[in-house]
Subunit: 259 residues, 2 copies
């Protein structure tokens, strides 16, 4: 995971293997060929809600990238930082209109697709654990969570699991994401403009999960342009280097990358 | 509002005078000395929920900036576009770590401070109108709103107004914003790094409203560094050019800037 390139600041990534936001940052680091130290935050043990981690990321979510000991948060902004600090290969378009488009796409992924994926990921992995908590344990767990949004989601995992209708609506959001990718890729070959960029990286972890949850949505029969684009993404050396292994294998701790 | 500078793309801003996000973009345009055509979107007449406007901004919110006929949305990203398309005077730091900080600050303002301000602004201005709607009119209004978040806020304006506790909690968020500004400005003179930037512009409309709602929070007795910074912001020619008049005067249509 750490190959020598040019000297620079020390990079330490606090992450989880199966976390979509963490995968985004690993993919960008791999594209840049940047050496970094990867430290797994054990979500099963709620390390992300512990005080030491909340000092790095006050929202209590992964990832956080330490740059010479200073923490950076928010995966889209971390990746834009990486692109500005290490401009080669460029991962943002040069044209300001397209740069705006790439940022807007990143915000769409985070604000709209992340909550949709989260419903499926968390029902699969956290609900079976959280539903067993006593009221006392639930209160204790919630008290450690710094944001109202995440407290709400954890409460739902414990006491009010997502319904079949909600899970289907979440899948519809991912289908719509695939429609948007199809339209963009059919037009220019990539999500933003005519080159690979942080916009493609932002979508990658979400397409991984969409393919796992509903493979037909990523099939060439249904969306030929997107399927071709997706084959290209999965063939990138950075995809392998970033360890985009199946969700179930990486979920959420105890997994280590193959040597 | 439109003074001649260098030739460039045509800029048309769809905005509302009292909207915080619109004010942010007007401030940036004024700092850059860019000529633009300002078109008011009449929020009282729900023009932002009409199909023609949702073609420009699919979220049905102001502002939208047309650049040679192509719409850009999201005030933070619009301002970053303006800074990249017209680099002088620079409104983002050069250092990638500080650029990350400015982006994170903009996201904090939008995700945390905007919903807090909104509670006060909308209770003041929209609740007295929306509470009079019949169930039929409410349904019709909600059906035109493209995002679940805004539908929810409009429902609350009509049928479930914010409580005194919620309004006080919102004010606490603004007090915390002022604490953060005080700490940053005391350290370096500005919100991000040692120069005026889009981070200061992002905060400006929120400090205006905080001063109107709770003047003591912006007083030199309570927060000396922030108060000094704020005097400097209000003295900027761009502040005058952007027409940051009192909220009540500009609220929400029918107001025209003094000649």
């Amino acid at each position: 995971m750490t190959t020598e390139t040019t000297p620079g600041p020390s990079l330490v990534l606090y992450h989880a293997w199966a976390s979509s936001a963490s995968r985004k940052v690993r993919m960008c680091l791999a594209e840049k060929g940047l050496p970094f130290e990867a430290r797994v935050v054990d979500l099963n043990r709620f390390e992300h809600h512990q005080d030491w981690y909340k000092k790095l990321n006050p929202s209590g979510i992964v990832p956080a990238l330490m740059v010479d000991g200073r923490p950076l948060v928010e995966s889209n902004f971390i990746n834009e930082f990486l692109d500005e600090a290490w401009p080669e290969p460029p991962l943002m378009p040069a044209d300001p209109m397209l740069r705006h488009d790439a940022r807007l796409w990143g915000k769409y992924i985070d604000d709209t697709c992340l909550p949709a994926i989260q419903k499926h990921n968390w029902m699969h992995h956290f609900h079976p654990m959280a539903r067993e908590w006593s009221d006392e344990e639930l209160e204790r767990r919630l008290a450690a969570i710094p944001t109202a949004n995440r407290r709400h989601v954890w409460y739902r995992m414990a006491r009010d699991p997502y319904t079949a209708e909600e899970l289907e609506a979440a899948l519809d959001i991912l289908r719509d994401m695939m429609d948007r990718i199809e339209a963009r890729v059919a037009a220019t070959g990539w999500i933003t403009g005519d080159a690979y960029s942080l916009a493609d990286i932002a979508a990658t972890p979400y397409v991984i999960r969409t393919e796992e949850l509903a493979p037909e949505e990523v099939s060439p029969e249904k969306r030929p342009a997107a399927a071709g684009w997706w084959s290209g993404i999965k063939a990138r050396p950075a995809y392998k280097a970033a360890h985009m292994e199946p969700f179930n294998e990486q979920c959420w701790s105890g997994w280590t990358p193959p040597a």
